[in-house]
């Protein structure tokens, strides 16, 4: 489902040389797998997730959503390095909308929209709208236990409620790949349990899920857990079926 090879990313300090964050990272995730990437703050977890989700470009490396983007308008598309040029900005946006769902640590709901409209927003950019989409959004909110808050605005919701809404937004288009960046980082234990359970169910239903976190224990059992250190994934290839 997702294959990345040799991902390299550096950032330029305000004054000084470029600082390497990822130094040749390889990742493979298949449908139905829940992969957890752990690491200390600043280790490059979020950067890795951004590269995998096409939220920013790698300096070098190859990335392919196997079997998915072959059906996309842009054809058999590779990401990063010289292959990234084959995918225009518009095609990259389209790929994000159709194939990738994001759950962020700080929820990133739009404050000017209600909870329901925040969920439905995910469908707007992939050409799906209308009553059927709204009905599906209400179902998801119901499943996550926040249906009664659907007409509330984000500032009127607790952190746990906002993350549940954000999860609904991430899965509304039923994307084959779900990327979660510290999804429980701002939540209490009860809400963290709800979100972790939702991610696990997503993988069990056939989705590919990648979670980066500094609390990997919240997401086990997982298909694999590995650690990112010194810009590389330690333990790759992954140990399968990691138990708590």
């Amino acid at each position: 489902m997702l294959r990345a090879r040799g991902l390299v990313k550096t950032y330029r300090a305000p004054a000084g040389p470029r600082i390497p964050v990822l130094d040749g990272v390889d990742v493979d995730v298949k449908a139905g797998e829940l992969v957890v990437v752990a690491g200390a703050s600043g280790s490059g977890k979020s950067t890795l997730l951004n590269l995998l989700g096409l939220l920013e470009d790698a300096d070098a490396g190859l990335l392919n959503l196997l079997g998915l983007l072959e059906d996309a308008d842009a054809g058999d598309v590779w990401f990063a390095d010289e292959h990234v040029s084959a995918l225009g900005r518009s095609a990259r946006s389209g790929a994000r909308g159709r194939f990738v769902g994001f759950v962020f640590q700080s929820f990133l709901l739009l404050p000017s929209l209600t909870a329901l409209d925040n969920v439905v927003l995910a469908a707007r950019y992939v050409g799906r709208s209308g009553p059927e989409t709204r009905r599906r959004a209400r179902e998801l909110l119901e499943e996550l236990g926040v249906a009664e808050r659907r007409e509330h605005y984000p500032p009127q919701l607790s952190g746990g409620e906002q993350q549940r809404v954000a999860f609904c937004r991430a899965v509304l288009n039923d994307p084959p790949l779900l990327l979660a960046d510290e999804p429980t980082g701002n939540l209490d234990d009860a809400n963290a349990h709800v979100i972790a359970g939702a991610l696990r169910r997503r993988a069990a239903a056939g989705g590919a899920v990648v979670v980066v976190t500094h609390r990997p224990e919240a997401f086990v059992p997982a298909t694999a857990v590995f650690r990112i250190e010194n810009g590389r994934l330690e333990g790759y290839p992954l140990k399968k079926e990691v138990a708590p």
């Binding site: 951004n50 939220l55 920013e56 946006s93 739009l110 000017s112 927003l121 707007r124 950019y125």
Partner: protein, 394 residues
């Protein structure tokens, strides 16, 4: 339809744009007012040939000179090309140096109503309430809109001029030019006021040194020309054939009037430029700031799959809605402010003119500038990767 949902979260932006557009519209309203005043005066002087007796005194309105006796008026009427001559008496209502020959001067205009008004552009003066003067009227007056407004006068009210009481029988529509401050009476009444106002004239008349009859007491005359005649040619013909008169050539008078208003033209150009700069900067800055403020939202939307084109359309739609809302609010504020100033501070004088072209121009200007600012800000924002946009907006 600009729904409240679309504008949610844009309250301060709308307020910022409203202030900018209000400033632009208010300054534009003052500019429009001055333009209308100059245009009105120009239109008046081009509609008639103004003639006065030769001399230095009695400079009021568009005539300047001495007495224009009845014999001169008859001679003017006999000049080929002349269609009508209306004797007039034009006096300052308050003959103090502080008001004499100023743009806000209040004038008493006496008309000989046995002759139709010969001005081609003002054959009648529009009456808002009551009626205009008719032949044989005495001790009645028709007053201009600003004059009536500044004194709270209406039809039926009484006005005392040089110790005589006049009943107001009509109030003119606002013309935004000189007649707004006129008190129009019959020429007989105006002659009586002239004698009462002018001690030197009384002395001359009492001495009997000069044989002057009532019909000779005219400060000037409005002269019309026959259709097909060139008014400048007719005016020069009058000057050649009638002795002892000052004749204003319409086109020259128009040029002089425009030259004398060069200061005002420069002033209004400055006001308009200032309005455009202040209002424009306010609108552009507010819209651009509003877009940059939402940089995180744009990052999220791009993460959800929004393309540059989709994002651009959204921003333009929102900015247009916000700009138009702010624009309309600003226009309402400007009009309310202008009306308030006109009513309470300037005592009935109209300092602002909010014409349709001004309001439409302000709205279009704000909309265009808002769209350009939004486009610029959007282009800056979409250059960032979604991750960078989210980071910067955090």
């Amino acid at each position: 339809m600009l729904g409240p949902r679309l504008l949610r979260g844009y309250g301060f932006t709308v307020a910022g744009i409203a202030i900018g557009v209000a400033g632009l519209t208010a300054l534009g309203g003052m500019s429009e007012r001055i333009v209308r005043f100059i245009e009105g005066g120009d239109r008046f002087v081009l509609g008639q040939i103004s003639v006065a007796g030769r001399g230095l005194g009695m400079g009021t309105g568009f005539t300047a000179g001495g007495l224009l006796p009845a014999s001169a008026i008859r001679a003017i009427a006999d000049v080929p090309g002349v269609a009508g001559v209306q004797p007039q008496v034009m006096l300052p209502l308050n003959p103090t140096t502080s008001q004499f020959m100023t743009l806000t001067q209040e004038l008493v205009l006496g008309l000989d109503l046995s002759v139709p008004i010969p001005n081609r552009h003002y054959p009648t003066l529009p009456v808002r309430t009551g009626r205009f003067l008719s032949g044989g009227d005495r001790h009645v007056a028709v007053v201009g809109a600003a004059f009536a407004s500044s004194r709270g006068l209406d039809v039926g009210a009484r006005l005392t001029l040089e110790g005589e009481t006049y009943e107001i029988v009509g109030v003119l529509d606002r013309t935004l030019t000189a007649p707004d401050r006129f008190v129009i009476v019959s020429i007989a009444d105006a002659r009586t006021q002239w004698v009462a106002k002018d001690p030197m004239l009384r002395t001359v008349l009492a001495s009997g040194a000069v044989p002057v009859r009532a019909e000779d007491l005219n400060t000037g005359a409005a002269v019309g020309w026959r259709t097909g005649e060139d008014p400048d040619v007719v005016a020069r013909r009058i000057a050649e054939r009638v002795a002892g008169v000052n004749v204003q050539i319409p086109s020259e008078l128009s040029r002089q009037l425009r030259a004398s208003t060069v200061f005002f033209s420069a002033l209004l150009t400055g006001i308009a430029a200032l309005g455009l700069v202040i209002g424009g900067l306010s609108v552009a800055n507010t819209i651009a700031a509003a877009v940059f403020e939402r940089i995180r939202d744009f990052g999220v939307k791009r993460a959800l799959g929004a393309t540059d084109a989709q994002l651009g359309r959204e921003v333009l739609t929102e900015s247009l809605a916000v700009t138009l809302s702010g624009g309309v609010t600003g226009i309402v504020i400007a009009i309310a402010l202008g009306r308030g100033i006109d009513l309470w501070i300037s005592r009935g004088q109209q300092l602002f003119l909010f014409s349709a072209r001004l309001l439409a121009g302000a709205l279009i200007f704000a909309g265009l500038l808002g769209a350009v600012a939004a486009l610029y800000a959007t282009l800056r924002v979409v250059r960032l990767s979604p991750a960078e946009a989210i980071r910067r907006g955090a």
